[in-house]
């Protein structure tokens, strides 16, 4: 028997570059309290907890155990899931499976990161093979840069196209999202004039790393209906963690893992025409360049047609398919929370609770996660249990 699962609550911290007022447990507690408040629940209603982050950013081992003072996990079932950049979406999916299994009715999922505690690129670089790859200390930026160079060559996309994505997401954050880390209004010219980080990616094309936490509450159908009038039903989940060695060749101009994960999630949800069926999307775009290139992997446009959607304003607020009303990852990136923020923001859109970020009448939403070694997670959410 398939048990339907919905999102019933969502909370987040005010994200920033360095949060000196809170330690990690306190950051977590803020997000948890806000998620509980949003669903009018207390910790007594929570049956199980899933938590995730990336160990080397804070250097705390056994975070599931360490976190209980902030997570409310004292004398509760709690487990940790971590998959790198996809951690946030992976814990979201783990929360879904907790509730879908029938073992737990109401599940609290927490993603967090206090990136100011470490050197982010140094910590990321240890993900590579210690013998053949680690010496390059590639971090996350270089491979994304190589990908956009290949895409520009193949399809005639430009650096300005990427700048348009940066403008869209930064300005959405500045206009609509009080929780965002970077709330600055930028122009294409600002982006183009910002310093190169790794050609063709410039400073304003790249996501920051943030201190912050996010909590999302999942509930099995019967419980979900009692908690809120309109849960955000999880209609589809998919994930694909396919690549291990950079030297194997990233499907350079595209993102094969995203295509595969989307296929899984769309099949489960019954999404046939993504661009038409989705009303809003919260995409894990670590660099503006990916905002141009990855829409095709999601089936939102044909191969090489990403720049057209961006130039035409189709993904802006008020466009046919608004992408990242929250400002997305370019504005806010507490890494272990980032993928979960996408799910939480997408859920609030279809629940009609996105406030200033709200896309009017949004019913079906897409959320993605990215990380690991060009890995992808995809989630489909809807205000109805079946797609029209």
């Amino acid at each position: 028997m398939i048990r339907r699962v919905g999102v019933v609550g969502f909370g987040q911290t005010h994200h920033r570059s360095r949060n000196t007022e809170c330690n990690g447990q306190e950051l977590i507690a803020v997000a948890v309290r806000r998620a509980l408040e949003s669903a009018e629940l207390t910790m007594a209603d929570i049956d199980a907890i899933v938590i995730g982050n990336m160990d080397h950013f804070e250097s705390i081992n056994n975070v599931d155990m360490w976190s209980v003072d902030g997570s409310g996990g004292y004398m509760k079932p709690i487990m940790k899931v971590t998959t790198g950049g996809t951690t946030g979406s992976a814990i979201g999916h783990a929360g879904f499976y907790h509730a879908a299994s029938g073992l737990f009715d109401t599940v609290l999922v927490i993603g967090w990161e206090q990136n100011s505690e470490s050197d982010t690129t140094a910590a990321i670089s240890t993900c590579f093979d210690p013998i053949t790859e680690r010496d390059f200390t590639a971090g996350a930026i270089g491979p994304l840069a190589a990908q956009y160079t290949a895409y520009m060559n193949k399809y005639g996309a430009t650096e300005e196209d990427a700048a348009l994505v940066s403008v869209r997401d930064h300005n959405n954050a500045a206009s609509y999202n009080p929780y965002a880390h970077l709330r600055q209004t930028v122009t294409v010219e600002d982006v183009m004039k910002s310093a190169y980080v790794s050609y063709p990616i410039k400073l304003l094309d790249m996501c920051p790393r943030s201190d912050g936490a996010c909590a999302v509450i999942f509930a099995a159908e019967q419980k979900a209906r009692k908690i809120v009038d309109k849960p955000a039903w999880i209609l589809g989940v998919g994930d694909c963690h396919i690549l291990v060695h950079l030297a194997d060749g990233i499907g350079l101009a595209s993102l094969p893992s995203l295509e595969i994960a989307a296929k899984q999630a769309y099949k489960m949800a019954g999404i046939i025409e993504p661009f038409r069926q989705f009303d809003v999307a919260e995409l894990y775009i670590p660099a503006s360049t990916a905002g141009v290139t990855w829409m095709e992997a999601l089936g939102l446009c044909d191969e090489g047609k990403g720049p057209g959607l961006i130039r035409g304003g189709m993904t802006d607020m008020g466009g046919k398919l608004p992408i990242n009303p929250s400002g997305g990852v370019l504005a806010t990136n507490p890494i272990g929370a980032t993928g979960l923020l996408r799910i939480g923001e997408a859920a609030f859109q279809v629940m009609g609770k996105a406030e200033k970020k709200q896309v009017p009448g949004a019913k079906v939403a897409l959320a993605t996660g990215f990380g690991g070694c060009f890995w992808s997670d995809v989630t489909v959410l809807s205000s109805t249990t079946h797609l029209e």
Binding site: S59, V244, C373
Partner: protein
């Protein structure tokens, strides 16, 4: 709960140093568990890996074994914690109805790290870590509290070590099969008073994999399918000072949940064999109490009476337990694998005759802050 079975298990031999890479260890158990299940990788529709960035010295440590476990081709996730938690995640994926066959793989190469530094990192970075406290010294506090609260003696704890190392002589996978006496344990080098060398588990390199399947797939495996009857997990408070270290309320809660699902009312009577996470000798005694095999403080007397010996009423750790092979993260999954072999009647020289219901247990964090309990049946 819908019925889910474990249809394949595999372990490497555990040893202090294995030159194989993380991926090679993982591949070995993936291949062997699938063979044990009579399956190929094509039959697996999702995977769960169990990797820890600290122990593996690598961020996104699951990347290292993605290919070796076939995880690049199906939905996958990585649980960071004891292997029992990985098995629980795998179980939930099947129970959701969205997956039918889950491969769970845990691996560890502690030989590449410094255990005291790694386990020091689970303590509070501001208030506790600079004390140098680690898994061994925190366990010493717990052993002292447990002994002083209930009058359990160092000899009784030593008896656990003697029993388990002796049992390990029947286990071809064990790292430390030993023929030792209580005297040997008591005279062994003190690591952190009152824990002596032979009260402590080694750290081992090794891996374990299990294949789980839904009822329709598992039924085709006939008697080799071992059913998951119940599961529970729970966490206690974080700071050692917030806990009574002589008690394990989180284990009691986890066991209560697992027993409720499995219909276990009298654990000592209903369960035929138990594989417990005895990272230190005293832990086996404490966990027996938490699991309701005896009342609080009585486990010392229980071991004195030989109840948990191979020929006793409730053999505990016929495999030699964690004291005889401790690949961190792997060890709880290995408890499940051993319980499966017992229920299949395939445990060789360590077989408990006629075992019909088995318990497997894992711990997480310092001094068993978290526990995960599986009840398995034939």
């Amino acid at each position: 709960m819908d019925r889910v079975a474990i249809v394949g298990v595999a372990q490497t031999k555990y040893q202090s140093y294995n030159p194989a890479s993380h991926a090679e260890l993982s591949y070995e158990v993936t291949r062997d568990a699938l063979e044990d299940a009579g399956m190929t990788i094509e039959d697996v529709d999702n995977t769960v890996t169990v990797c820890n960035d600290f122990w593996d010295g690598r961020t996104i440590s699951s990347m290292a074994i993605t290919e070796a476990t076939g995880s690049h081709r199906v939905p996958t996730t990585n649980v960071e914690g004891d292997g029992t938690y990985g098995a629980l995640m795998g179980l939930m994926r099947i129970l959701s109805g969205h997956h039918r066959v889950t491969l769970v793989v845990a691996q560890s190469k502690a030989s590449e790290g410094i255990p005291s530094v790694i386990t020091n990192a689970m303590f509070d970075p501001l208030y506790e870590r600079m004390l140098g406290i680690d898994a061994v010294s925190s366990a010493a506090l717990q052993m002292r509290q447990y002994m002083s609260k209930y009058g359990v003696t160092e000899e009784q704890c030593a008896r656990v070590s003697v029993k388990n190392h002796r049992n390990a002589r029947n286990n071809p996978y064990a790292h430390l099969p030993l023929d030792i006496s209580v005297e040997d344990v008591l005279r062994s080098r003190i690591l952190a008073d009152p824990i002596k060398l032979l009260d402590a588990s080694p750290v081992s390199d090794g891996a374990c994999a299990i294949v789980m399947a839904d009822e329709s797939v598992a039924k085709k495996r006939g008697k080799r399918a071992v059913w998951i009857e119940g599961v529970g997990h729970c966490a206690d408070a974080y700071h050692l000072g917030d806990r009574d270290l002589g008690e394990s309320p989180a284990l009691e809660a986890a066991a209560r949940r697992a027993y409720g699902m499995a219909g276990v009312s009298d654990p000592m009577k209903d369960i035929d064999v138990a594989e417990l996470y005895d990272a230190f000798s005293y832990m086996e005694l404490m966990w027996m109490e938490g699991l309701g095999f005896c009342h609080q403080g009585e486990a010392g007397a229980v071991i004195d009476r030989g109840v948990t010996e191979m020929k006793g009423r409730l053999p505990v750790n016929p495999s030699g337990g964690v004291l005889s092979a401790h690949a961190v993260q792997v060890a709880g999954l290995a408890r499940i694998a051993e319980a499966v072999l017992q229920l299949r009647g395939e445990a060789g020289a360590r077989q408990v005759d006629g075992a019909k219901m088995a318990l497997a247990h894992g711990i997480e964090g310092a001094c068993g802050q978290g526990h995960c309990v599986f009840v398995l049946g034939r």
